[in-house]
């Protein structure tokens, strides 16, 4: 309950800062405000994927079914957030580059993350009811988790991109004003808290569903 309240306050604060307090970026103008939503959404998509991978690894090590419930829940949330990332990114691309889709390496990489989630859910559908399902799902999630840094961080950097320099770039410097940095940090915290709350809710739904199934 405290976390939900805290998240409510931080989310309201970040919305105020994004839409009222922070000045628009020099070249990008008012459209730059979407960055405070787009970057945290992309961050949560990757975080959810990492959590799903780590939970799968824990499941393989300890054979506790709780971990696979966490992995499945995190993957569900990650799918939702990666869809939102693609939508916000496309809207911004339309304003900045003239079309919703530009085949930019970084634009494509988040879509590939989305494809990984879709592939995982296809596997989940096919193996449901199979006693080996948790094991197969876990191994696939770990393989996908290991492949994802190549997808998100390495491959897009091998080719020219339309995207602005990443927030944390090759020089290890933050290329943002102090105000923008602060707002982005608060937005990142609020979205991370939101992910934490959603994960808890999703796990509870899974547990209740399985209890109903048993009865």
């Amino acid at each position: 309950m405290i976390v939900i309240l805290l998240n409510g306050i931080v989310m309201m604060l970040s919305l105020y800062l994004i839409y009222i307090w922070v000045p628009p970026a020099a070249i990008l103008g008012e459209t730059s405000r979407i960055v405070y939503l787009h970057v945290p959404l992309a961050w949560v998509s990757c975080l959810a994927f990492a959590v799903a991978g780590i939970a799968s690894l824990s499941f393989l090590k300890k054979s506790k079914i709780n971990y696979i419930v966490y992995a499945r829940s995190s993957a569900h949330i990650g799918l939702f957030f990666s869809i939102l990332t693609v939508i916000t990114g496309s809207l911004w691309a339309k304003v900045m580059w003239g079309s919703y889709w530009n085949w930019d390496p970084r634009e494509t990489s988040i879509t590939l993350l989305l494809l990984l989630y879709i592939a995982y859910f296809s596997l989940q559908q096919i193996v449901s009811g199979n006693p080996k399902a948790p094991m197969l799902e876990s191994v696939y999630l770990i393989i996908a988790f290991v492949a994802s840094p190549f997808l998100i961080f390495v491959a897009p950097r091998l080719y020219p991109t339309l995207h602005p320099e990443p927030v944390i770039n090759a020089q290890g410097q933050l290329m943002l004003d102090t105000e923008m940095r602060l707002v982005l940090a608060i937005s990142l915290v609020s979205f991370t808290l939101l992910y934490y709350i959603l994960l808890g809710l999703w796990v509870r739904i899974y547990v209740l569903k399985s209890k109903l199934h048993e009865e």
Binding site: A119, S122, L123, N130, M135, L136, A144, V154
Partner: protein, 220 residues
């Protein structure tokens, strides 16, 4: 371990030699697709990038038809259990991986020969092209062998393997296509970064798959 590995590889080669399923599937698939593209385009494609993309799509889908076959056969013929009783799971994984690596390299070489023969494409950097094809096909084998086992254990012969493998291999696919395209251009370039990326990708996924395979290949 090496003896067990060799016995497993011998067994797989012997079975393939008797049935010739992989050879016939790959050969007919790659010839049909390449000839279809030749018919559709009149054998003239002007973009090196398009050549590279078509080439890797043929290699990928030829591979998808065969890479999971070694595991499906074990499950369908109920020999997986005997394999697990006689050999540690890692030996089975390594033998299938080596078979898949050989199959993928042969597919890549076969497809490029058919492609160059059917469609008029100028290769300016032949050695680089061979190096990229070998590195790319090895990466495909390393990345998809364990996924082939997952698809076989899921009991879904259809498109599941392709659906699961495609997003995982896309980074190597992108790099392989971009660097192959440069082999069809006159400008001098170095394929070193692409080859390092492909080999690093295969090493990382190969090691992870080696560690994970014993968890899924048991209790049949």
């Amino acid at each position: 371990m090496i003896k067990a590995l060799w016995r497993n590889i011998q067994k797989d080669i012997l079975i393939e030699f008797r049935s010739r399923i992989i050879v016939s599937i790959v050969l007919s698939f790659s010839v049909i697709v390449t000839i279809s593209i030749g018919f559709a385009t009149g054998g003239i494609i002007n973009s090196p990038l398009l050549h590279a993309a078509i080439l890797w799509i043929i290699i990928f889908f030829s591979g998808m038809n065969t890479l999971s076959h070694v595991f499906f056969r074990e499950i369908e013929e109920s020999t997986a259990l005997f394999g697990v009783i006689h050999y540690p799971a890692v030996v089975i994984y390594l033998s299938k991986l080596l078979i898949n690596c050989c199959v993928m390299v042969v597919i890549a070489i076969m497809v490029i020969i058919i492609y160059v023969f059917v469609i008029s494409v100028s290769v300016y950097h032949g050695i680089y092209l061979i190096a990229i094809l070998i590195a790319g096909s090895l990466s495909l084998a390393f990345a998809t062998t364990v996924i082939g086992a997952i698809a076989a254990l899921a009991g879904a012969r259809g498109g599941l393997f392709t659906i699961l493998a495609f997003p995982v291999v896309l980074p190597l696919f992108t790099v392989a296509i971009q660097s192959t395209a440069r082999c069809f251009e006159q400008q001098v370039f170095s394929p070193l970064s692409a080859i390092i990326f492909l080999l690093a990708f295969s090493m990382v996924l190969g090691m992870v798959s080696y560690l994970l395979f014993p968890y899924i290949w048991r209790e049949f």
